[in-house]
Amino acid sequence: MNALYKLTRAELRLFLREPVGVFFGFAFPAILVVILGSIPSFREPDKDIGGLRVIDLYVTISVALTLAMLALQVTPAVLAGYRERGVLRRLSTTPVHPAKLLAAQLASSLLTALVAVALVLAVARLAFHVPLPGQFAGFVIAFLLSAAALFAVGLFVAAVAPSGKAGNTIGVVLFFPVMFFAGLWVPREAMPAALNRVGDFTPLGAGEQALHDAATGAWPHAGQLVVLAAYVVAFGLAAARLFKWE
């Protein structure tokens, strides 16, 4: 396990040396909350969305955004890039299996996500009095399952993308529908019911719903958790079988 720890530490260091990645994966979600919270009407209760304030909704959407950026824009590009540059091949000549490097990259992303989410929640609470998630344990479970589902998709993209650039492109292409159904442009509560139904089967449509339920004090519904678990299994297995090491 010593090797995994050292690899994760190296991955974190490398991530922190990329200013663009650090900005988008780390700071941007909190900044988004600040920007949106500065719009006065977003701080007024809105009867169209059941009396909640828009800013309340956007906190969980920012959490979803953090996960989507790390899982779809960082992981595939980095891992496919490692394959392309021969980093995985070089590691395969050592006693440490290259799969440990994949695990280290995911662990590093997850740690980054945790800190970014803590930052979002703290900023929202302190600046705009957005309450911390009512059902905290449920929120953590929803967060971890959503993370697992998204990283499984990211890993799958990394498995099949022929190059770092391709990984990046495919990730970006997936990012938009995933975030659309999470409600980044139009909150789910304001979407037509039909779109909502479709979104329920996307990883962040389900994930966002679960996070939202927990944030407002209820346990996430089984339905969403099942969809997320299905993504983890399906994409995780596919990634494991299809991963090209060279």
């Binding site: 010593n2 090797a3 050292k6 690899l7 190296a10 260091r13 490398l14 040396r17 990329e18 490692y82 540059r85 021969g86 980093v87 091949r89 070089r90 395969s92 000549t93 050592t94 006693p95 440490v96």
Partner: protein
């Protein structure tokens, strides 16, 4: 002498290409064993199989008594591999890479000392992306040695290096061997093979054409030798043409050119000495591995 690598009728096929057809050789502990051949001959695939990175399709391989593919976890601790064309992350610093890789081994070398020996001590804080080609190559070697391996496999060590860096690397390899490491060296540079290798296997189109010491391979070749000189006094050609070793004597202005085989130099200089003729500006062209390759495979190495 202990045999550390046994390769018997190795075979590896990729889809419809036969990369390695039939390769056999053995490597003794402490020697520098060369695998020499043109590009595409199957050298890299051969050493990848020896290093346990690729699974062979046929033949029998034993490295330190173990099967490199099935016992690869055990062998990774004892065999270091330096592959061509593999990078590290651009922003990973050289010292970080060495420390990281040394943590993978049970009994690693002192990576700082290794960096010193390889002339990288002042580059520990430099990111990989900012290293020169020569520095990257030396880091590659360091990473192959950081685990204190018994065997080091080095593939195309000096490709892309300038002549000075190339010579420095050769000195380094000899130092490494002096520490007791057995080295398998893949190269397509004749000069490198002649300089470094105790023995070598000549590979062409996936097959071993010959295995011998560099001198031994050269001596197999009945190649012409050529001696040029300017005689100090008038020279009667018949003094030379009568010698059994001499095939022909020609003149280019004041220069005499003698072609022949066998111990030509001794024969010519003896005759000149007996007749008190000094050979001035003497030059000898000898057979080389290049000639050996041509003789053994029927074509030059650089197609």
């Amino acid at each position: 002498m202990e045999t550390v690598i046994e390769c018997d009728h190795l075979r590896k096929v990729y889809r419809d290409t036969v990369a390695v057809d039939d390769v056999s050789f053995t490597v003794q502990r402490g020697e520098i064993f060369g695998i020499l051949g043109p590009n595409g001959a199957g050298k890299t695939t051969t050493v990848e199989c020896v290093g346990g990175i690729r699974r062979p399709d046929g033949g029998r391989l034993r490295v330190l008594g173990l099967d490199p593919w099935h016992d690869r976890s055990a062998l990774r601790q004892r065999v270091g591999v330096q592959l061509q064309e593999s990078q590290l992350q651009d922003k990973l610093r050289l010292g970080e890479a060495l420390e990281l890789f040394s943590s993978f081994y049970r009994r690693p070398a002192d990576w700082r000392e290794l960096a010193d020996v390889l002339g990288l001590a002042d580059k520990l804080g430099t990111p990989f992306g900012k290293l020169s080609g020569g520095q990257k190559q030396r880091l590659s070697i360091a990473l192959a040695l950081v685990g204190n391996p018994e065997i080091a496999i080095l593939d195309e060590l000096t490709t892309g290096l300038d002549p000075q860096a190339r010579r420095d690397t050769w000195d380094l390899i000899e130092q490494v061997r002096a520490r007791g490491v057995t080295i398998v060296l893949v190269t397509h540079f004749m000069e490198e093979a002649e300089r470094l290798c105790d023995r070598l296997a000549l590979i062409d189109s996936g097959r071993v054409v010959a295995t011998d010491t560099p001198a031994g391979l050269v001596s197999r070749v009945e190649a012409e030798q050529r001696i040029r000189f300017r005689p100090s006094v008038e020279l009667d050609d018949r003094l030379l043409t009568g010698l059994p070793e001499v095939q022909a004597v020609t003149r280019h202005g004041a220069t005499v050119v003698v072609t022949g085989t066998g111990n030509l130099l001794h024969a010519v200089t003896s005759v000149l000495a007996r007749n008190q003729i000094v050979a001035m500006e003497l030059r000898v062209d000898q057979a080389s591995l290049d000639d050996a390759f041509v003789a053994l495979t029927g074509r030059p190495m650089d197609n």
